[in-house]
Symmetry: C2
Subunit: 302 residues, 2 copies
């Protein structure tokens, strides 16, 4: 039957040949990309289209189910602004941010130079944290339920184990109410964040608070999804840090309190065993109840 | 090394064991779903998470690339409203709507009853199109560049080939400027749409216009994506129709003009060969230059 003189609509007209679904459909969509498509974008979109189509066929996704997903995405966009990224959070609760973090770090660690390395920052990093003096605190108006901690250690060359001087450590953490300073009018500017530079001995040290678990914002589509998946919104207690030194690969990571709840079921799946640390009792320091010794090894870029 | 007394951050700490990336990560995310998750949702999300993660690993998706996607999704939501669904359009240009249409239709055609069938309507369907008399026109204030067409045919039982009386045909199409009446202040309410019911002979017939190609809205993220993929935004000329009759499976489809541009590269991938029809010269009818004879076979539900 010619395709150009078909004058009858038959019941099977929206069905297709060989397989359960049209076996050529996906390659048809992929081949629509024109010759001027950027090669990397072509690679990414080819894989994305293939996996999205395979997903739809694998679960026999219906129009109603797909439209529910579209609605969720549109509402995520509508509630996003400079202070909130609900699209990102939707990705986070299905583990995508944590996965691309891993991928990006791995890519960077395999690169011969540091230029291609991408910083993995999370939504609450600020570029303008103040440089503080070694031994100072990052906690101001410290809440009564906070356990003050002295965090310290040595930054070393991963190969030689020699101390690295003038390495910059950028630290940020949420307060005991689960909020970062830019989310919380009651915290002063730059509370619980700061930069420190190591001395000749590679040592760093400052006062902070023991981190506490907190929920990701759950009043939007990401929270709805968590609810439908019978999951809680909490993240285990963690501290963010970036360590930078010219000639070394930068490190961006989070460290997790070994005694925290939710280590095994972080709502955004960022915990790795090697990043779990133990807070110890601190002796002879009236300013801190706890201490955390944490050494940092940097890999040279050449 | 125990996971709870690790006090050194080493360069390989965000890398993982066996494979290039953590081989257990995806199953960890999937297993986070709680016991109260709806079984169908669990099936859908398990497949979605697996395919999204496989996609990210397959192309080594970076944080920057992922964030560009998040930004596109957030902006799609922000420009969506009651008259525009940019999230849907983003799906359309990667073929997802057309694919879930096919899946839903196939599911419905395999169902033993009509109750589970889902209507595939597209964004411009209206439930309240007026019932018109057989032989009337759906085109008012017909533009000068329109080619008036008499569309007609017989609705038959797919098995017996006997005429089906009182079948309802719901038709809608865009004007020659590419706009449906609800997108265009210059078209009167319900222009180029209407419902018709077949008589005893199963026949239907009405005047409409030959459809013309038009672009999907390309001033948002979907248009950006089309541009980056070196693709045009045009859809080939088509007419939408739904045919409903108690005791038969409803049909929702689009038919395409065989002489239209873009048949081989519909921007939303809805063309199927069997839905391509040929408009012919009409003789002896001063009201129409063209005619389209189109018979419709309905499958009984029992």
């Amino acid at each position: 039957m010619s395709s150009t003189n078909k004058h009858t609509l038959e019941p099977e007209d929206t069905l297709n040949g060989a397989g359960r679904y049209d076996p050529n459909f996906t390659s048809h969509v992929i081949s629509a990309m024109g010759p001027k498509t950027d090669p990397r974008l072509r690679k990414v979109m080819t894989s994305l289209i293939r996996h999205v189509h395979d997903f739809a066929r694998e679960v026999d996704l219906t129009v109603d189910e797909w439209m529910a997903g579209v609605d969720m995405i549109n509402r995520a966009g509508q509630m996003s602004n400079n202070r909130r990224n609900e699209g990102q959070l939707l990705c986070d609760v299905i583990g995508l941010e944590s996965l691309v973090d891993e991928i990006t770090f791995k890519q960077a660690s395999e690169a011969k130079d540091a230029v291609t390395q991408s910083a993995i920052l999370g939504p609450f990093f600020r570029h303008d944290a103040p440089l503080r003096q070694m031994g100072e605190t990052i906690s101001f108006d410290t809440p009564a339920d906070a356990e003050v901690t002295y965090m310290h250690g040595v930054v070393m060359d991963a190969t030689t184990k020699l101390p690295v001087e003038n390495a910059e450590i950028d630290i940020w953490q949420a307060s005991t109410n689960g909020l970062y300073e830019q989310q919380d009018d009651k915290q002063q500017e730059h509370n619980l964040r700061g930069k420190f530079r190591t001395g000749k001995d590679g040592e760093y040290g400052f006062y902070c608070i023991r981190p506490t678990p907190y929920p990701v914002p759950d009043d939007g589509p990401a929270g709805e999804l968590l609810g439908m998946l019978d999951r809680h919104p909490f993240r285990p207690a963690h501290i963010h840090l970036i360590v930078i030194k010219q000639g070394y690969k930068p490190i961006t990571t989070q460290i997790f309190d070994a005694d925290s709840k939710y280590l095994d079921n972080d709502s955004v799946f960022a915990v790795k065993d090697s990043l779990v640390v133990k807070f110890e009792e601190r002796q002879g320091d009236e300013k801190a109840k706890l201490e955390l010794k944490y050494d940092i090894l940097l890999a040279a870029t050449e």
